[in-house]
Point group: C2
Chain length 412, copies 2
């Protein structure tokens, strides 16, 4: 089945807003096995919209349209869809009532221009929006089924997952339920991860689709699976999930919606521990990962950020300095764990092998451990890698895993 | 003139990579007065590319194609362009020599598959890429002139500015030179800024195009102007630039490529001053703006990040606490200026009027000044606004401007 995405709106067309809705919809289509074949962007312009609907209706089997369902005059999607179908717009009493109730619940009266959002092409299929006033709908233009979704990201995301994708799967003859299992790792590059996992039989025979997405310094490994039922799906997924977890091993920092900082804070909270951090050259980025998290007020004691190690009475980024900095901070703050991240960036103009020397120190009641590393890349790259490595070292230390396992981003 | 953007590549089509190249090209087209009328995204697929070239060739006068000029087999732009034009690909001896020389300068031998990058459609117009191996070219397909650019962002950006836009302006009959003047402000919303500026005659008569781009908490005000010569352009722009600067007044935090943190560091460096910071609830985000900047090693002394004000021996986010925290930090670090940012986020589940109470303190040799504020929004919104406000207060203090001018994002 050939699926297209059609995004509308002057803000998107003119580049004022970066089109993250497009990439979200496209990724979801790929994840459920539908794929995406064409993307179109047009502005809030009647002529362009009509032409785009007609051209997509000739090329595609299904089209997801995003945007243009708002209450203002430049929101044209319903109107132009009706024109392309050759039908009038008809007021949906049901949606008017839903909108009025929603305003009433918040003690407000619905503005008159919201009525426009309840005008749908005659005989359109209604697509529910449980969290907004822009309702979706589906119509057929040319040979394609068109699904209309609002531009507000959280409304679009929920409607695509709950309303549009099930209809697309039904249209395509793909039946059953889908699930996406995600592993987040630090320290393995995409090609190495692919080499470590691709010979698993379920990936070879296509019963589970393996995919990767690199967001340096993290790598996301995705397992997309479809089954006739939740039980059948779980039966296929469970052993493969366990095998992936085993093979990626200590490099798995989090799963699904977890984050590395969340896992670290969770481990500290669970054991009634606390933490303080000190960093040089990473300029507060380490503290900025931990301190704002929910629950951090119970765990996070204090952070010290120095641009120059001399401010801390130490020199360089080596084992001695990291041990000294962590131990001193632990004594000063009374935290159960102190984490020191020392970074010395290379001097001079940027060149290909440029990078930074890193040393991480962790002090606890048993003493201090250190982890030196040499990271290559520009300053932002080294800083991001060093902060991730510091958090990962603390995670490993708290979970009793080795802190000095070699990672793909370091040179030794 | 009708201009379209056509982006190619599976990574973009499938949403794996967010299409920031599209928004960059579109913004540049709008800024020089050309506008953009249609966007298309297709994958590395011969059939889709050919169809997309032909359809755009029927709709547009000019098309910027991005991507597909690399050395690998899935890079198809030259090949499909030649097919669409009905001409063979021909080796450019000039580009082969340029690539070989570029490899030789780095002491390397050019891999054989780079030869593909010198194969251009017969009679194509050569478009120089001064910083990469993917050369650009222009051909005519249907009624449109197509400009091919590489997907590597820094190469694309330079080629669009230096090579493509001048050609598009010539095609469109627009002559002369263009300039974009940018003001960055903090504390004024887009609609108020529009109200403050839109009656300036040059904006009314269209001789200068006024535009805004909000990146909360900052607002970018853009003046796009075109003239027959640099001198003519400067003559038009200079008085309007001065008038905009006067009207936006103390809210202008930076201009053009400057940043707020850069302006603050510059003011400190120029006067031989130094700074230390202390923050609660903003979790290191204040330090993360200042400490990593070039030149910060001469100015930035130390930062303390506490989740809980009690860690600093203070309570709440009020004038007394801010004064105490700033004065103590100045004494401890010996910095000429100490900046304290205290934030108390509202408790409980998120609700529309939720926000945070903020107090900023600045201590210097003359004593301490404070700036209380109430910011509304979710935690991320309040944190971003509070960090910006702290940096802006320090900027204002260093430049002798009032630190307590009311901003649009606060409630009093």
């Amino acid at each position: 089945m050939r699926v297209e995405i059609l995004c509308t709106g002057d803000e998107i067309l003119t580049g004022k807003t970066i089109n993250t809705n497009y990439s979200h919809i496209a990724r979801r289509l790929v994840e459920v096995g539908l794929g995406v074949h064409w993307g179109t962007t047009v502005g809030d312009d009647r002529g362009s919209l009509l032409q785009a609907f007609r051209q997509a209706g000739e090329r595609a089997d299904a089209v997801i349209v995003n945007g243009g369902l708002g209450p203002t005059v430049d929101d044209l999607s319903q109107e132009v869809a009706a024109e392309a179908c050759g039908v009038p717009l008809v007021l949906s009493d049901y949606w008017m009532k839903r909108m009025e109730e929603s305003y009433a619940r918040r003690g407000r009266v619905m503005p008159p221009n919201n009525r426009k959002q309840a005008m749908l092409p005659q005989d359109a299929e209604f697509i529910d929006n449980p969290i907004g006033t822009a309702c979706g709908f589906a119509v057929t233009i040319g040979k394609a089924r068109f699904f209309f979704t609002p531009g507000v990201p959280r409304e679009m995301r929920r409607m695509v997952d709950e309303q549009v994708i099930p209809r697309l799967l039904a249209l395509s003859g793909i039946t059953g339920v889908t699930r996406l299992k995600r592993f987040h790792s630090f320290g393995i590059g995409e090609s190495r991860a692919d080499g470590m996992l691709s010979d698993i039989p379920a990936f070879q025979d296509g019963s589970i689709k393996l995919g990767f997405q690199a967001h340096y310094p993290e790598l996301e490994t995705k397992l997309a699976v479809r089954g006739d039922s939740e039980a059948a799906l779980a039966a296929v997924l469970a052993p493969v999930e366990a095998e992936v977890r085993r093979r990626l091993g200590n490099f798995v920092i989090a799963e699904d919606d977890q984050t590395l900082e969340g896992v670290v804070l969770g481990a500290l909270l669970a054991k009634g521990l606390s933490v303080a951090t000190v960093e040089t050259a990473s300029g507060g980025h380490l503290a900025a990962r931990l301190a704002p998290q929910p629950g951090a007020e119970k765990v996070f004691r204090k952070s010290v950020v120095a641009r120059n190690p001399a401010e801390l009475g130490i020199a360089g980024a080596n084992d001695d300095a990291a041990r000294t900095a962590a131990t001193a901070l632990r004594a000063e703050t009374g935290a159960s764990h102190a984490l020191a991240l020392l970074v010395e960036m290379d001097d001079g103009p940027e060149r290909p092998d440029m990078g930074g020397t890193v040393c991480i120190g962790i002090a606890d009641a048993d003493g201090a451990v250190t982890r030196p590393a040499r990271l290559v890349g520009n300053r932002d790259w080294v800083r991001a890698g060093a902060v991730e490595m510091a958090l990962d070292c603390l995670r490993r230390h708290l979970l009793g895993l080795p802190v000095d396992e070699r990672i793909d981003f370091e040179r030794r």
